[in-house]
Amino acid sequence: MIQQLPFIYFGGMALVCAILVVISRVAIYSAMALLGMFVHVAGLFILLDAPFLAGVQLLVYAGAILVLYLFVVMLLNVHGRGPMLQRQTPWAIILTLLAAGEMGYLVLKSHFYPKLPAIPHPSVPTLGNTETIGMVLYTQYLFPFEVASVVLLIALVGAIVMARGRGGVSQG
C-alpha cells in the first residue's frame, strides 16, 4: 500500500483537477485547474521512470500552452452569464455513458501482464532516460521529427493569419 501511495496521490489529484476543469463556471478557474492537472500528470511521468518527459510536460504544457489559454481567456473577457451547459446535454450524456461503458468493458476484459523484467545488455553501456530518448528520436524517428517541425511552422503561420483580423496591420 505504501508503494502505491504516490500513484494514488498523483492520479487522484489529476482526476480531481480534470473534473474541476469540467465543472467550474469561470474559464479562468478551469485553466487553473488544468495547470494542477498538468503538474500531477508530470508527477505520474516521474513515477513511470520518464523524468525527461515530466520536464517537457511542465515546460511545454504548464509553461507555454497554459499561458496561451490564459491570454485568450483574459483577452476575450468571458464571464459566466447564462446556462453553463449547451442544448444537446441529454444526448451528450447518453453518448458519454456508451463510451464509458465500452472503455470499462475493455479494461475489465483485458488481461494485464505484470511488469516485464528489464533485459540486461552487458556489452551496451546503460544510458539514462534523456540519452535514450535523444538517440532514438534522432535516428529511428528522424523523419517524424522533421514532419513535426513543419506542423509547428504551419501552426505558427496559420495562427498569425487567423488572429490578425481585417482592419489590423497592412493588408498584404
Binding site: G11, A27, V60, Y61, G82, L85, A92, I93, S110, A155
Partner: protein, 100 residues
C-alpha cells in the same frame, strides 16, 4: 509496485472526464481545455506501457502528441479569436454559420 491496470483505468477515467466536458460545455475555450485533458489521458497510457514493456517508443510518441497539441492550441485559439470578432460570443450555440 503499481499494476498496469491502475494506470489504464486512471487514463480511461480522465479521458471520459474530458469527453464529458467536450460534449456538454457551452464555452468554447473550456471545450479546448477538455481536449487537453483527453490528450493527457492518452499520454499517461503511452508512458505507462512504455515503462512496463521497456520500450522507449511510447515516450517518443508522447513528444509528437505534445507537438500536435501545441499546434492545435495555436490554431484553435486563433479560430476562437476570429469567431469572437465575428459573433461577439464564446458560446458554442451561437456558432451556426454552417447551418442550413
Amino acid at each position: 509496485m503499481v499494476p498496469l491496470s491502475w494506470y489504464v483505468t486512471l487514463s480511461a477515467l480522465m479521458f471520459v472526464t474530458g469527453l464529458v466536458g467536450v460534449l456538454i460545455r457551452r464555452n468554447i475555450v473550456v471545450v479546448l481545455l477538455c481536449i487537453e485533458i483527453m490528450l493527457n489521458a492518452v499520454n499517461i497510457n503511452f508512458v505507462a506501457f512504455s515503462d512496463y514493456l521497456h520500450l522507449i517508443d511510447g515516450q517518443i510518441f508522447v513528444f509528437f502528441v505534445i507537438t500536435v497539441a501545441a499546434a492545435e492550441v495555436a490554431i484553435g485559439l486563433g479560430i476562437i479569436i476570429s469567431l469572437f470578432r465575428l459573433k461577439e460570443s464564446v458560446n458554442m450555440d451561437d456558432y451556426n454559420l454552417l447551418k442550413l
